[in-house]
Amino acid sequence: MTTAVQPGGGNAARPSPSGLADVIDTILDKGLVIDAYVRVSLVGIELLTIDARVVVASVDTYLRFAEAVNRLDISQEKEGLPGLVGKLEEGGAKHKTKGAIEAAGDKLRDFAGDAKERAYSSRGRGGED
């Protein structure tokens, strides 16, 4: 069967065909509901819905975010941080070691300091640290 959905020219913002998750978001709890129908049993949906719907902030979610931050560190380390390190040397490191990160490499520690720096400068330079 053909649908009227046009995939468009590869531009991200053009209408695109739905993936299964989008289908589920759309047809399982939206649309007209009628009272008087014969119930046929529905299979498979339970499982799919859990994956595809409902965001409940939970400890699991939080841990996943923390893990993502962790991965962020790793991927940045891989890329190397020459630009950031360079910038840090220019700006002078005000980073105070908190004691908890002895094991971390210099680069990473420097990056944290630099991230702080950038946060201040984006607010208008005048950090009062």
Binding site: M1, T3, A4, V5, N11, A12, A13, R14, P15, S16, P17, S18, L20, A21, D22, V23, I24, T26, I27, L28, K30, G31, L32, V33, I34, A36, V38, R39, V40, S41, L42, V43, G44, I45, L48, A52, V54, V55, A57, V59, T61, Y62, L63, R64, F65, A66, A68, V69, L72, K98, A100, I101, A103, A104, R109, A112, A115, K116, A119, S122
Partner: protein
Amino acid sequence: MASSSDQQRASYVYGILPEDIELGSDMTGVGDPPGRLRVVRSDDLAALVSDVDPARPLGSPDDLRAHKEILDASAAEVPVLPLRFGAVLASDDAVATELLQPFHDEFSAALEQLDGLAEYVVKGRYVGPRILEEVLSGNPQAQRLREEIRGQDADATRDLRIQLGEIISDAISAKREKDTRALQDLMADHCAASFEREPTHEDDAVHVAFLVETGQEQDMEKAVEALARKWEGHVELHVLGPMAAYDFVGTTQPGG
């Protein structure tokens, strides 16, 4: 009321349309093997139906897709009231007498309202590393936690990880609200109605359904494209549609 001559067949209903529709040949619907699509008419209304075996469960990915594709293809041509997945009546006769006739006035009025309108869903997701960096750089407490956790044993730092994750989760929620408002403001001139959907993923930036007039699609698309450019690198935006107006039916209008 329904004819009980054939116990093995029931009528699966996709949606309700104006009576004067024509079906392409060879269209099939849900079920395995899929039933052939047909039209049940009553007065000025029609229902799209196909046979299903009521003894066999429904809900495979193919079933779900078939339901939606049939409705979306129809919605591109005529106004459609989409039914929620899984509506089955005992027979075509029951579709006419238990669905189309008793609710005739409501269905007619709703179809009239939907005439010339189609639904589009704009969905955006934050780009993983970027959103985390944004949140971290704007939040000294999160940065401090990040440092404390870095390189440490996962179990030993569980509480700190939870704290960090909660900060990020809250920050993303706040951002999501702000970005959703921005999208809705931007679209206000290009849509007849909008409906904010629940986020479906913790990285969701926006998830909003819009009812768009035929002829306005290009304006709508341009507006979304402009936003996509503005958010490039931060949010990946997608437009789904045109589709049936799933988000705009289903609640009974008081009074009618």
